[in-house]
Amino acid sequence: MNPLKKLVNSSEKYFTGSGKFNRLKPLFDATKTFFFFPSPKTKHTPFVRDSLDLKRFMSFVLISLLPVLIFGIYNTGFQAGLARGESYTFFQAFWLGSRYVLPIIIVSYTVGFLWEILFAVIRKHKISEGFLVTGLLFPLTLPATIPLWQVAVGISFGVVIGKEVFGGTGRNFLNPALTGRAFLFFSYPVSMSGDVWVAAKSAVDGVSGATALSVLAPEGEKITSALSDSGFSLSNLFLGFVPGSIGETSALCCILGALFLIITKIANFRIIIGGIAGLIVTSLIFYLIPGGSDSWMNAGPLFHLCAGGFLFGISFMATDPVSAPGTNPGRWIFGFLIGFLTITIRVANPAFVEGTMLAILFMNVFAPMLDHIVVKYTASKRIPNV
């Protein structure tokens, strides 16, 4: 028998029934079922069940995040190297990046899991797998320079207020990771905006460390050429060798992750395609409006698509099934409006350089209403059977 299984079996008595640590049963269950996949006998018809369960469902989101995560770690080190005026090898950059990024991820998972366990113990239910995703998504939306205590505060807010007060995974209406990020964004604007995007930039003066979205062209120059001058050429933005949140910089890696989610049908392609369509249409409309050639208004769809966190948000955040609509027409509208709002906020609201986070959270609030309208409409099209 597997030695781990022996250990689990021998320690089970402490966590169940009147065992010493019976209050920590959810923690024990979560650990046990992580290693040994539970598969009890069915009790009701149908007596056969699909092999897919929520653990696998959520693990697939983690797999889809791997390219983004690995590139994010590398890019953190790479940007720090640029700022210090040194050129690192891949492994040096990756090593330096992981020294910034891994602590953030560890803090996010640890603090988040503590809250999950606390709520599971109090409510006497099982620990849901939803947090596996939240715990990794949240750090990827942060700048690598963020103080770790803020990570802890942010994930606490995201898990407790964004999710657990409503009853846990499946009952939240906002994306918990984005809720946490929004909390940090508004509570600690100094660590979340401006020149915070490059780790170790203080080593050399004159490195701005701002993101592409905060670039403004000087009088008479076009925004696209101003972007290229500051190092934000389209290819750099697409590949991701630019400053930004840990996970958001590489459009290519986001697309890889999105493709994986679409092919395995874990994420709904309607949200992603609808979102990209919304972004393209809206940015084209702004592009065609005369004037504003020195601002992002005139950047055109490609720059809008590759810059900032839009692709990251639409692929991994907006597709969270719990906070997105559950009907197909609803998903199209939801995605489209996220694209529309992202551009509108980027272009029309000078207070926020990036609009993806607010657009997704805003549409999360409207998802139940979209569902309501669609469900009522489809019900009215059925031949009544009462």
Partner: protein, 449 residues
């Protein structure tokens, strides 16, 4: 023949398909009439323990309509009347006569010749069927209750296929029964103007050998579960609200009905299949109400015996087959808790999703009776919506039902649910959607009563 276009359903190939050969097993010592597979029945017993009964003697009737009787499918004495919790009738067990000469002592009912069908009033046929214990073959939508004799159904759906993918194949069940089948259709025409007869696409060519039975088929359905379910067929065919109260009957029962009216004797022969993922067993000819034990043999492991893997009930090996049941599916219990099971590539795991490598292969898969995960809250992923053959949104309906909003649930089409079980099958959160929907339909039925 028209094609019915069903796009959603269970499309994974399964192992354990029954063989098309037929064997006959000797008569069992006991047979029974089960009450568990009769919808909404409130039985009133008409016999006592140790009463002698003939083939065709009424054993119990339905309190809701006492004319509807359930008769003994054999001659002998009432050996036992089994009750379950709260004295719910489970089955009436009859010990068959061992004496070979008077083995089957039939009660002789009035016969009806093929020419008289059109002249006898409908009420007369109804009465004969009710006395003979075969009226219940007619089931009425939306709740698939026993048909109401006073209702004129706008449509009667005859299904050549049973409830499970591996129910007895029509070419075996209906072999040499074409004349009875045609007589049955004549009877149906007394009840409704529109008779719909459906067959699975893949069975079609093998029906050629059934002396022209194929010509009667009006609609062809695709070959994946549950496209042939009468509930799905009705959903696809209905155009008006009135058609919600259509009737359905299986071809096998239609033949029983025809035999009964032509010969005046209660027909007792039935064809059943016993399937198991590792076997390829022949069809079995046996008596109605045969003991499960005789059909499945000895089972020493922890397997589950059901009368349909998606929509049957779980049966005790000591009990007997019900009137509406024609298949026994033995589902293996895989008790092993796989190490890191949630992230295995899964080349052989059956799934309706796209998250296992198995979705790339066409090899038949083996389903076991395990949940593959634990119950969680609904995450609104839409897997149930994507598989429901009648275009329901089970996730939204159960939320309405759980908040006691039956009106909303009905508006969303609750009563169109054909209880195929696929929503529960596909749910990654392992929510008992079918059970909740089923309870909703039953609650609505009781409300109406």
């Amino acid at each position: 023949m028209e094609n019915i276009n069903v796009s959603k359903g269970f499309k994974v190939a399964l192992t354990g398909m029954p063989d098309l050969s037929v064997i006959q097993i000797p008569d069992p010592e006991t047979i029974a009439v089960s009450a568990l597979d009769i919808p909404y029945i409130r039985p009133k017993l008409l016999v006592k323990k140790n009463d002698p009964v003939k083939t065709g003697t009424p054993l119990f009737c339905d309190k809701r309509n006492k004319c509807i009787q359930y008769v003994s499918p054999g001659t002998g004495i009432v050996k036992q009347i089994v009750f379950g919790q709260r004295r719910r009738l489970i089955e009436v067990v009859i010990a068959l006569n061992k004496n070979r000469d008077e083995k089957d002592n039939f009660i002789q009912f009035e016969t009806l010749s093929s020419d008289d069908v059109n002249t006898v009033p409908r009420s007369n046929i109804t009465k004969r069927l009710q006395e003979g214990g075969l009226w219940q073959c007619f089931r009425e939508f939306p709740s698939k209750d026993t048909a109401d004799e006073n209702h004129e159904p706008p449509m009667i759906i005859v299904s050549l296929n049973g409830n499970d993918p591996f129910s007895p194949y029509p070419q075996v069940v209906l072999e040499n029964e074409t004349a009875f089948f045609e007589f049955g259709i004549k009877i149906l025409k007394q009840f409704s103007n529109r008779i719909v007869i459906t067959s699975r696409q893949d069975n079609l060519s093998s029906l050629n050998r059934l002396n022209g039975l194929k010509e009667h088929i009006t609609h062809i359905v695709p070959d994946f579960y549950p496209a042939w379910d009468p509930g799905v067929v009705l959903y696809k065919l209905k155009r008006t609200r009135k058609e919600n109260r259509s009737w359905c009957i299986s071809a096998e029962h239609l033949v029983l009905m025809a035999k009964f009216l032509l010969t005046g004797r209660y027909p007792v022969k039935r064809v059943v299949t016993v399937t198991r993922s590792t076997d390829k067993k022949p069809h079995i000819i046996t008596r109605q109400g045969a003991p499960v034990k005789n059909l499945v043999g000895s089972l020493d492991d922890n397997s589950l015996i059901t009368t349909g893997r998606f929509n049957g009930r779980s049966v005790d090996p000591k009990s007997h087959m019900g009137f509406f049941e024609s298949t026994l599916t033995i589902i293996n219990n895989n008790q092993e808790e796989e190490f890191f099971g949630f992230i295995q590539p899964g080349l052989t795991k059956p799934t309706a999703s796209k998250t296992f490598l198995s979705c790339l292969t066409q090899t038949p898969k083996n389903l076991d009776c395990n949940t593959h995960g634990e119950e969680r809250a609904c995450i609104n992923c839409g897997y149930c919506v994507n598989i429901c053959p009648v275009d329901l949104m089970p996730s939204f309906i159960i939320k309405a039902l759980l908040s006691d909003d039956i009106e909303d649930a009905l508006n969303y089409g609750l009563l169109d649910c054909c209880r195929c079980g696929l929503c529960s099958y596909a749910c990654p959160s392992k929510i008992e959607l079918t059970k909740l929907l089923s309870h909703g339909i039953d609650a609505h039925y009781k409300d109406r009563e």
